[in-house]
Structure formats: C-alpha cells, structure tokens
C-alpha cells in the first residue's frame, strides 16, 4: 500500500486533445490520395474562374475573322498564343473556356446553395415535426420528382425567358428535393436517438432540437449529396446552354461553346472538343472528390 503512484508508468489515458468528429473525418479525407488530387483539380478550376481576367490570354469576346477556326498550337497553322485554337468567329477557345468556368461554377454553386438551404429546412420540418407538415412537403416532393428534370427546366426557361438568375431558379426549383429527401430520412432516424430525447427531457425547444441537436449530426451526408449533385447541376446548365436556353451569347459558357462547334465538328473538331473536355474534367473531379468525402464523412461507409 505504501507504493507511491508512479505517474510515468500509469496507463496512458485517451489523447488529451479535444478531437471533434469533423476533424477526424477531414484527416481521413486527406489520406485518400485520389480524392485529394480531384479536390485540387476542383480548386484549380475555381481559382481559374475567379481569376479569369488575369489568367485568360485574350478577351473571350474579341473576334478576329483572320483567325476563324485556327487550329490548336501543335497542329499546322496553330500558334502558341492561341493554344487551343479559335472558334468560328476567331475567338480564343482557351480564354472562353476560362471565362466559361465562371458560369458553370457560379451557377453550380448558387443552385446547390439555394437548393440545400431550402432542402434542409423543408426536410427538418418534414422529418421532425411530422403530421400535416410532413404530408404536404412529402407530396410536393413526390410531384416534383415525377417530372423529368431537364424537360421541367426547359419548360421553366421557356416561360421565364433566358438569364442568369432564371437559370438558377429553374434548376433550384427541383434540385431542393434531393437534399430534402436526404435530410428527412436522416432526421427520421436521428429524432429517435436518445440524445434528442434527452434534449426534450431537458426542456429544449423544437428549434433548438432541429438546428442544434439534429442538424449538425446529419450535415455530413447532406454535404456529400450536395457535392455529387453539384456535378449534376453543372451538366444540366451545360445542357440548357447547349439548347440555347442558358446564358445568352456572347457570354462564354461551356454548353453553348459545344453547341457552336457542332456544325463544323469535322473540319474544326477543337471548337467543341475542348469545352466538352472541360465539362468532363470538372464533373469527374467533383464526382471523385465527393466519393472521397462520402467515404470519409458518411458513417455508413466507416468501420
């Protein structure tokens, strides 16, 4: 009994540092090399979009009929100051791709932000309050899900007319349904957990429970779904632009660039191909990065 405690030899305790689940998940994500590389690609695209005026070698709308369908630099007739060649109006394709990234990323981000905010509120209300709120919201969701997305957006665009904000509106109109369903499902599970019951037993209000107890715990799957959907929205925006319902010319957008070039795809393949590759690369990078996010953040994919 006289033995003095030997602190150095005592069994080590759990790490002293407060380690939140978020930080732990972030570390898991960072360890996934492919996902990290994709995230870097996405960040590069975002930087490119933000810094477009400084990065682009030319004015994207400057036409030069002498350079009509000038091939990329490495083909005969190409020159390095117009690295990816020029389109039918002699505009520099690289510069237009760089400016087009602004449209794609801005619309993608804006639509997802609007849709996710609406979806979270609607899903929380639907899943936690239940009752008639749930019935009404769930029916609206069912009805919206019944429409084919693109046709729905085309119809809205035709009604409202083109324009940046109308595109965002037309896409967000239906996009919120996706996060709403995720949030509702997660809320239905989480509301039954004992810590939610504990908060009720302590006298917490509905708002407190929905926003402080439930929301932080279901945010991970929502973020994951939102990033996956972001890629989808970018494709939809490109599709609308391709159909001429998107951003109006001369503003550069990847979808309309692909559409512009399709008439001379045989003589000047680069006009359509490079913006198409840009869409492919960005969407692929977002998808791979969001897979990594899902693996790291969604508890169902963890041990």
């Amino acid at each position: 009994m006289s033995a003095p405690p030997a602190p150095a030899l005592l069994v080590p305790e759990a790490p002293q540092k407060a380690e939140s689940i978020f930080h732990r998940n972030l570390a898991t994500f960072a360890a996934n090399r492919l996902a990290m590389a994709s995230a870097v690609v996405v960040v590069l695209f975002v930087l490119m979009a933000v810094l477009a005026p400084f990065v682009a070698p030319h004015d994207p709308n400057e036409t030069d009929l002498f350079r009509r369908m000038q091939p990329p630099a490495w083909l005969p007739g190409g020159e390095w100051s117009y690295a990816l060649g020029c389109d039918a109006l002699g505009r520099d394709i690289l510069s237009r791709i760089i400016y087009g990234a602004r449209i794609s990323i801005f619309i993608g981000t804006a639509v997802i932000l609007v849709a996710t905010s609406i979806g979270i509120l609607a899903g929380l209300a639907s899943g936690y309050l239940r009752g008639w709120v749930d019935v009404v919201i769930s029916r609206i969701v069912d009805i919206l899900l019944g429409f084919p997305y693109l046709i729905f957006a085309i119809g809205l665009m035709a009604m409202m007319g083109p324009g940046l904000w109308n595109i965002i509106l037309a896409l967000a109109y239906k996009e919120w349904v996706i996060p709403c369903r995720v949030v509702r499902g997660e809320t239905l599970v989480t509301r039954e957990l004992e810590y939610v019951e504990a908060a009720r037993a302590l006298g917490a209000s509905r708002w407190h429970i929905m926003l402080r107890e439930i929301l932080p715990n279901i945010l991970s799957p929502v973020i994951v779904v939102s990033t996956i959907r972001m890629a989808h929205v970018i494709i939809l925006e490109a599709s609308l632009s391709f159909l001429g319902l998107g951003v109006q010319p001369p503003t550069a957008s990847w979808g309309s660039m692909v559409a512009d070039g399709r008439a001379f795809i045989l003589e000047a393949w680069w006009v359509s191909t490079f913006p198409g590759l840009a869409i492919l690369l960005l969407v692929l990078a977002i998808n791979v990065a969001s897979q990594g996010l899902r693996d790291a953040f969604d508890p169902r994919f963890q041990e």
Binding site: Q16, I21, L193, E194, E197, A199, R200, G203, A204
Partner: protein, 337 residues
C-alpha cells in the same frame, strides 16, 4: 415521508398503422398497450425499482411519466402539480425538476457537442446561470462530482469509455438540481466493474442531493441491492409491488418467483432446480385474455384464461394480482432468493 410522484391509471397505447386495404375497409387499428392502467406512487427520497423483461413497457412508463411520450390516459401528479395537464411553458419549467438518465451511453450523448456543451445545456435552457463563466463553473463542478476531470470538459463523447459517458449523462441530468430522476437501465450496458462504480455514484448522489429515483432495470440483483420498494411489470401491467425485503423474502406472484429463480447466482455454485417458464413473452399486439401471464404460468387455471385478476393487498404495502394468491403457493423450493 411525503409523496413526490403519484401515477394514477396511466396508460400508453400505440396505434399500429393500417395498410391501404385496412383503411379502405375500415378495419380497426391494431393497438399495442405498452402501458396499461398503471398506478403507483413514489415517496420523496426513496428508490422505487421497476423490474421487467424487454417489451414489458417499463421504459415506456418512465417516459410517459416525464411526458416524453404523451400518455394515452391517466394522470401523473408531481409534487401536487398535475404533469399530464400542464401546457408547454409550465412543462418546460417542470423539466428542470424531473430528469432522466438513459441506458445507452453511446446514443444518449450528441456526438457533435463537447462535454461542457452537453452538460451545460440545461443551464442555458432554463437560464440557471447568469453568465457563460458561471455556467462553465457550475458545469465543471458537477462534472468533477461525477468523476470527470476538468481538462476533459472540452472533449467529445467518442473520446470517452462507456462508463465515463454514463457519468456525463448523469452530470447532465443533475446539473439543474432536480428532485426526481428516472434511471432507465443506467447500468445495463456497462461492464460489471464499471456497473458497480456507477451504482455507487448514483447512491452517493442520491444521499447528497436528496434525490428520488424511479430505477428501471431488468436485473433483479441490482434492484434488490438498491431499491426501497419494487414494482414488477409484465406486458404493460404491474403484477406485484411492495417493499423490497418483503418481495425478496416472499414473492407472491408466480412471475416474480420465476424471475427470481431464473437469475444465475454466484453464491449458489452448481446446478439448481429452477422454475421453468415455457415459451416466450406473448406479442403485445395480441396479448392473451384474462391474466396476461397465463400462457407461461405453471399454476394457470381455467379462470386465469378468462378473467384478469384484481390487485390484492397481501401485506404491509405489498400488492399482487393473481387468482391463486389465497393458496399461498411458492414455486421457489427454498422460499428465499
């Protein structure tokens, strides 16, 4: 002693969902009578042990008393206030005084909040601290009292073991200085040595803070050790209730007797003859008619299959509900636990 909590004919029924066909044909709802016409009272400063097997409705009863699940019928009186009639603000005010400790130390703590946030929540909800610093001080004090260290306050629940998490849950329940605690199987998920630590802690806290417990458990050894009175539940009803000494010495209901006989005991090494209950707990969706225990009861008679027995007083504060109480049969061969 003064009565702190009085439960009168409390029932909690769940309506099952009807399918589309059922709804169209107007078929009746299937009803689960999780808690059926339960009455008892708890004196200030005592521990009432509530014992029963899974699905007997003991947890639902605990939650219905706190109105975490709205009771279907009956009244709950707490310190002469009718809990079941309170509006939302009055109920919120009362929540400070009646609290609950949960079974699962993993599910009952929000994984995204630190210990200080979890334990300090009642202080903020009820405005019990004038400043953040004061809230922090109160939180630190109660955490230290339940055996957590001050440097652990800013950690997250997943950094703790099951026993420590249960201490966090206890601190959360006690920080608002309540009078009555529903302990819903607080030690069932814990290892034996940790279980003993938590039981010892709960008993110390009860003495220091003058608490009253409704202690729910499936473990008759735990209840026998710490409760003053025991209520035995079977399929939503209390079949026997009385002082713990009386029930341990001479259980009257055949269900209580078989429950006690079934518990493996360390002292009685080697095989013992025990009362064999055949079959499983009947589905609460289709409870048997008459006495609900008759499907498994070794003593069942014809009357048990048709008529539900009434509660009878069989001793000082000791009641039981069985048709054959008068015959005074003991299934336990040695009569004592």
């Amino acid at each position: 002693m003064k009565t702190l909590l009085k439960v009168e004919s409390l029932s909690k029924h769940y309506e099952g969902r009807r399918g589309l066909v059922g709804r169209l044909t107007g078929a009746p709802h299937t009803v689960v009578r999780a808690v059926n016409d339960v009455s008892f009272s708890v004196e200030r400063g005592e521990i009432l042990g509530l014992i029963g097997e899974s699905g007997c409705g003991k947890s639902t009863l605990g939650r219905a008393i706190l109105r975490l699940h709205e009771p279907t019928a009956g009244r709950v009186m707490f310190d002469s206030k009718e809990v079941t009639a309170l509006d939302a603000p009055a109920l919120k005010a009362l929540r400070r005084r009646m609290q609950i400790i949960f079974q699962d130390p993993y599910a009952s703590l929000n994984p995204r909040r630190t210990v200080a946030q979890i334990v300090g929540l009642p202080l903020r909800l009820h405005g019990l601290a004038s400043s953040e610093a004061e809230a922090r001080a109160i939180t630190a004090r109660i955490c230290e009292r339940v055996g957590l260290k001050a440097n652990q306050l800013d950690r997250y629940p997943h950094q703790f073991s099951g026993g420590q998490r249960q201490r966090i849950g206890i601190a959360r329940a006690l920080v608002s200085n309540p009078e009555f605690i529903v302990c819903d199987e607080p030690v069932s998920a814990l290892d034996v040595s940790i279980q003993a630590q938590i039981i010892a802690l709960l008993l110390e806290l009860k003495r220091e803070m003058g608490l009253t417990y409704l202690f729910i458990s499936h473990d008759i050894s735990v209840i026998g050790y710490l409760a003053d009175r025991v209520a035995v539940m079977y399929l939503g009803e209390i079949v026997e209730m009385g002082p713990v000494e009386a029930i341990l010495a001479r259980p009257r209901h055949p269900y209580t007797q078989s429950l006690m006989s079934a518990v493996p005991k360390v002292e009685a090494s080697g095989r013992r003859a025990r009362i064999r209950l055949t079959g499983d707990l009947p589905s609460p969706l289709h409870p048997p008619a008459g006495c609900k225990f008759h499907t498994r009861c070794p003593l069942a008679l014809d009357i048990c299959r048709s008529t539900a027995p009434l509660r009878e007083t069989v001793g000082e504060g000791h009641i039981a509900a069985c048709h054959r109480l008068g015959e005074d049969i003991s299934l336990l061969e040695d009569g004592a636990a």
